[in-house]
Amino acid sequence: MEGLLNSVASQYLFVGVWLLIPVLVEVIPTLFVYIKLLIEIIWEWILKVFSRTPSAEINTSFLPDIDVVIPVYNSEETLEACVLSVIKSTYPTNKIKITLVNNQSTDHSFKKFQEIQNKYNEAMISWLDAAQGKSKALNMAMYNTFNKYFIHVDSDGELEEHALLNMVRQFEREKGTVALTGIILTQKELIKRQKNPAIKLMDLLEYHEYSSAFLVGRNSESGSNSMFTMSGAFSGFRRSELSSTFMFSSETVGEDTHMTFQMRNKGEVRLAKDAIFFVEPLDSFDMFYRQRQRWQMGELQVIHMFEKNGDISIWKFFSNFMVRKLMLDHTFVFPRLIWFFSPAVLVAKKFSVKTLIIIYISLYLLYVFISGLFYLLAQIYLRKFKKEYHFFVRSGWVIGLMPLYKFVLSWVLLAALLNGTDQMRWRVRSLIDEISVTGQLLRNDGRRFKRFMQKIKDNLDN
């Protein structure tokens, strides 16, 4: 019996170590992030308890004028709700200049703008026409606005009512901060309304992925000024610093990452911890496939654009966070690909299938544990947003499926990396397109093969 246990243990160690190392590369930094943020939370709580000065009342008359820029592309369905969320926010309406920048819409967005302007005439709303592309729209807005803070939001989302006020207050408080990214969450009402159970599940997982990516991931990066990407859906900039950049790049599909890199060179790029923007959840797997491929491609392009001689050398592993990020997001994909298929080799070489199953279950549980830690941490930050907090806590059961979601995601990222050779497109080919093109080729060959066999048969008959 002891011999058997030893043999299982040594087999476990043999494969377990190979599989555990990539996990450890993620687990150790994750635990580090978790502990760091936890200490921060406790410290802030202590300061609050012992602080004798009462929290200052907000004097809105001292708030600066701000620009809220909304790039518009075929947004007639969502534009009103988006603009309304800006107008109804707790930031004084008379201090907000809303600029809608159309970039070659083909629907009735302009008509919708006119309606909005008539309906909410207490707000300052203007319309600009730009060339196609979000970066071009944002650049045109940069030229045509002038207020102290430049905040852009996507036209298909809605701001939480205190988001603008909290973001501007953070800017005013932190003089060294040049840019702030808001927290992006998906709209829970739309998730609840989703009829398709598979899409609903994907949306819930996406919701929890976002919450952990912003409330934990970016929150931690924010502390060490190593944020890789500010959200393209809701970010704010100090005008004086934004004006001295090379603007939003039209050379990459990752214009938000490109701007983050530029701003990081000018000062602190941080997370606005109390500013939430709600975006639409995914409505299909295809959308997810395309979106993530674009993000991945943008990441690689921007690193390429900022790569100076020797910048991403392996020797910079400890000094340049980009090398570490690339290793996690790119390099590890390849051993994972091999190790996904190599158990077949091990089984053929008489490796115990049972042991393999135990190893995979252990790994799965480890990932659930890590996601669970993030789930607990994110709750602390969301507590002040009561409705969001309740939904977040109640939907926490999906954490058990998070490793599965991450597994699917890792294949999408692999596809993004390997497809990246010739995809200079904003809208990459969808999985359905890829499958249908391949299916068509297979069917053509099938027909040709059938004709060939028929010919042989006819010849034999004759």
Binding site: L13, I21, E251, H304, L326, P335, T421
Partner: protein, 199 residues
């Protein structure tokens, strides 16, 4: 059995040609890598793995003969480690021959879509294979040295944990230089289209 293998290989080549026609680079690369990996593993028969085991033993033996920490037996692909008054035999097995890692590297390099030409592929294979071999030898040397100093009880953690971690880290460094860095340096930027990618 053999006709099945031939059929599978035929199917593999056919699927590769289809993926190339469909311009589905990700699927082309994945099918290419996985197929070639299995082909290499299948054809790496006893004499091939035995050669690799002996080569690894030989490489590790150079350090052993210099330091006297251990001796090797090429015939049995074995390392005899002297620890105090004991002699511990460490057999180099299939797993230690690094055949899986060498096969994986050849497969990945052969189908990685970001090399400019065949010359570049051969260049990286010519660098990668000796690198993996040396990393494997280094792993054996470190394992044997730890066991020499700490005795039989250290065998499991020295061999299975420390040795493998070192090997893994060295392999990841190679993958980073060959795959990640090459892609970043060759990535295309510039004006992109807004229309759909459907062809």
């Amino acid at each position: 059995m053999y006709w099945l293998i031939v059929l599978a290989m035929f199917l593999w080549v056919y699927l590769l040609s289809i993926m190339q026609k469909a311009k589905w680079m990700a699927m082309y690369s994945v099918i290419g890598v996985v197929g070639l990996f299995f082909i290499i593993i299948y054809f790496s028969n006893y004499s091939m793995t035995s050669f690799l085991m002996k080569s690894a033993a030989f490489g590790a033996g150079v350090f052993g003969s210099l330091t006297g920490f251990y001796h090797i037996s090429l015939e049995y692909s074995m390392i005899q480690i002297h620890s105090g008054f004991n002699t511990i035999n460490l057999f180099i097995t299939y797993e230690c021959s690094a055949v899986i890692e060498l096969g994986a590297f050849i497969a990945l390099t052969s189908f990685y879509p970001f090399f400019q030409d065949t010359k570049e592929r051969i260049h990286w294979i010519a660098i990668g294979l000796p690198y993996i071999y040396i990393s494997n030898v280094l792993r054996l040397i470190i394992t044997a040295t730890i066991v020499h100093y700490f005795g039989i009880n250290s065998l499991v953690w020295a061999h299975v944990i420390i040795g493998r971690i070192i090997f893994y880290v060295l392999t990841i460094i190679l993958y980073y230089i060959v795959f990640t860095r090459v892609q970043i340096l060759n990535v295309r930027v510039g004006k992109f289209k807004f229309n759909s990618g459907e062809s």
